[in-house]
């Protein structure tokens, strides 16, 4: 393992801003794994740390195939993590909305450009991502439909779901999108949590990446075979929304199989405790996403379901 500073900006009153990478093997730029880019993505850093542990062991045992190079970047934004702010410290911009970046531009454009310069020529790109809404996911690989996506490869992680996602205007500035445009096969992996470390789903994510690397002939590793992934389109998710705001009393969790008509959660009047709404499942299916905050606003998609009948 080789630790390396990939990008750096001199700080004024803070320590210098540094993006560090950990390299394994050598030769080809085979796979790059990116962790957190936002200040609340603790799980994404944790997964990378656990992956680095495994890759160290594999390297010591000579199990990284000759000529294959792996780069892991646990965190692209330590400044925000250390002050517990989701986006960039001074101007609140999102590094993952700045790709491919611009080296003569503003600070976060420079950071994105600095990172992208180092990682754009990889064969495979894997990012541990987080969703813009607070909640828990059933583990999944997300692939953006740019016309260059490779679904068969996405299945080789062995995670329960491969989700195909049509890019919206603002998605064109994400790392995943730009990786694909630069001909890297790019995958975003969503584990259960974001700001809280979930060891079990972190382990599943590490196993999934090792599984993928072994199937691509980058490492020699026999372990977890995982699932036969089911491929779903993100617009096939059935959103279940709150009709009222209030306390969100969750009954059903991400990953659970639910029946049509089953009560998933309740919205409770915060002052009187009266039930304002019973949130009922409109279909039989699997909970792909569940809201995880105590309060919910009106119209919030507190659950996203995958319909049973769509099952291949």
């Amino acid at each position: 393992m080789k630790e390396e500073i990939l990008y750096e900006i001199k700080g004024l009153y803070r320590d210098d801003f540094r993006v560090k990478g950990y390299r394994f093997g050598g030769g080809e730029n085979s796979v790059c794994i990116m962790g957190s880019m936002r200040g609340n993505e603790f799980q994404q850093i944790y997964v990378c740390s656990q992956l680095i542990q495994k890759l160290k062991q594999l390297e010591e045992k000579g199990k990284i195939v000759d000529g294959e190079g792996i780069l892991v970047i646990p965190c692209g934004n330590p400044y925000s993590v250390n002050v517990k702010k989701r986006f960039w410290t001074i101007d609140n911009t999102d590094i993952n909305r700045m790709y491919p970046g611009y080296s003569l531009g503003e600070t976060t454009q420079r950071i994105a450009a600095g990172i992208f310069e180092q990682i754009k020529d990889y064969r495979y790109g894997i990012q541990f991502a987080s969703f813009y809404m607070p909640g828990n996911f059933v583990p999944q690989v997300r692939v953006m439909k740019t016309g260059m996506e490779n679904i068969e490869l996405a299945k080789q992680f062995g995670l329960p779901y491969v989700v195909l996602h049509h890019p919206r205007p603002f998605d064109t500035t994400t790392l995943n999108y730009n990786w694909q445009i630069w001909e890297t096969d790019a995958f975003s992996i969503y584990t259960t949590s974001t700001s809280a470390v979930d060891k079990e789903s972190a382990k599943q994510a590490v196993d999934a990446v090792l599984n993928f690397l072994s199937k691509q002939g980058i490492i020699q590793h026999r372990g977890y075979e995982g699932f036969i992934s089911r491929v779903v389109e993100s617009h096939d998710f059935v959103n279940v929304r709150t009709a009222f705001a209030g306390f969100f009393e969750k009954i059903a969790e991400a990953g659970e199989r639910v029946d049509k008509g089953q009560i998933l959660a309740k919205i409770v009047d915060p002052y009187t405790g009266d039930v304002r709404q019973e949130i009922v499942s409109p279909i039989e299916g699997i909970i792909a996403f569940a809201h995880n905050e105590s309060m919910a606003y009106q119209n919030t998609a507190v659950y996203k379901l995958i319909a049973e009948e769509n099952e291949a």
Partner: protein, 328 residues
């Protein structure tokens, strides 16, 4: 004259509060809305999409104050929307607090989407029938801008001639970008509702002179549309930069993290090599960098907020060549 405050969107919040987006409608009595809209006589003045940009607050107030002085001169509909993002204004936040979301990236919204998407869709719906819309911004808390209108190249043929009458100092036509497709102005222009994006002054402050200048411009536009038959101030000729390729402007980005001292004001003419400011390190007492103009031109943006990081924008200069093309 009829004057009415109307709620155009509302959402119940978790704990005993209703979030409302409101507008003030001013129109002559005894005429139907439909009739006025069909004869092209409805203008909408919008601000507060970014909660920390307050220059538009003055404009909204001054506009209704001046109309109120001569209600008999009003011949059309004036809709004033001072607070598209009430949470942001209350929290001194550019975006929508609690969601960490830039409201100007969620248009045209979705009636069946989440709370913010729903509000965005209701706002767009309320704009239907508007013949001209002004979306007033105040740069951000970092930069001060001369009064200007920014126009996406896709809409320039229609919008530049209108913007010429609005009494701003600069019209800046910029290249199209996918990301901007989710802005309020793009969504409206895309629907055929002519919308001008005004940027002026600086975040968190009110510059009365700029407010008055723009209000003068709004009256000129209203007169042109047949909405106002009262006195109309004379408007200035703006500089027009057709900058679709991005070659008209020098961008001054900080070479180091430090504290920026500005030495020139926005709106000044500068010459190549002339000092605009400097970046220093107060801890060590070092002068880190002198910031000079890379070429002759017009400093139309200057950094107001002193803390900079490597890359932070400190100013923009419209190149002399772009000014000369205009006969300025």
């Amino acid at each position: 004259m009829d004057s009415q405050v109307m709620t155009i969107a509302q959402v119940q919040l978790p704990v005993d509060e209703v979030l409302k987006i409101q507008k003030h409608r001013l129109m002559p009595s005894g005429v139907s809305v439909d009739e006025l809209e069909k004869s092209g006589k409805r203008i909408s003045v919008v601000t507060g999409i970014h909660g920390d940009e307050l220059e538009g607050q003055y404009v909204c107030y001054e506009l209704s104050r001046r109309i109120g002085e001569h209600p008999e001169a009003l011949c059309g509909i004036v809709d004033i929307y001072p607070a598209m993002n009430p949470f942001g204004i209350d929290n001194i936040t550019r975006g929508i607090p609690a969601f960490d979301l830039d409201m100007n990236r969620i248009f045209p919204g979705n009636h069946h989407g989440d709370m913010n998407e729903h509000i965005a869709a209701e706002i767009i719906k309320d704009m239907e029938g508007t013949n001209l819309c002004l979306d007033i911004h105040a740069s951000n808390i970092f930069l001060t801008e001369v009064p200007q209108i920014r126009i996406n190249e896709l809409h320039k043929d229609i919008l530049v001639p209108i913007a010429m009458k609005s009494n701003v100092d600069l019209i800046w036509v910029h290249g199209a970008s996918t990301v901007l497709e989710s802005t309020f102005a793009y969504s409206l222009n895309n629907r055929g509702i002519h919308t001008l994006v005004v940027e002026m002054g600086v975040g968190m402050r009110i510059t009365e002179d700029y407010g008055n200048q723009l209000v003068d411009g709004i009256f000129a536009l209203m007169a042109d549309m047949g909405i106002w038959k009262g006195d109309v101030p004379k408007v200035r000729m703006p500089v027009v930069s057709n900058d679709e390729t991005g070659n008209d402007v020098y961008y001054l980005n900080a070479p180091f993290s430090g504290i920026f001292f500005k030495e020139r004001s926005h709106g000044s003419m500068v010459q190549a090599g002339e000092r605009i400011g400097c970046v220093v390190n107060p801890l060590t007492g070092e002068l880190l960098s002198e910031i000079t103009a890379p070429g002759d031109g017009w400093l139309f943006t200057i950094r107001e907020y002193p803390v900079v990081e490597e890359g932070s924008l400190m100013g923009r200069i419209l190149k002399k060549s772009a000014l000369e093309g205009m006969g300025h």
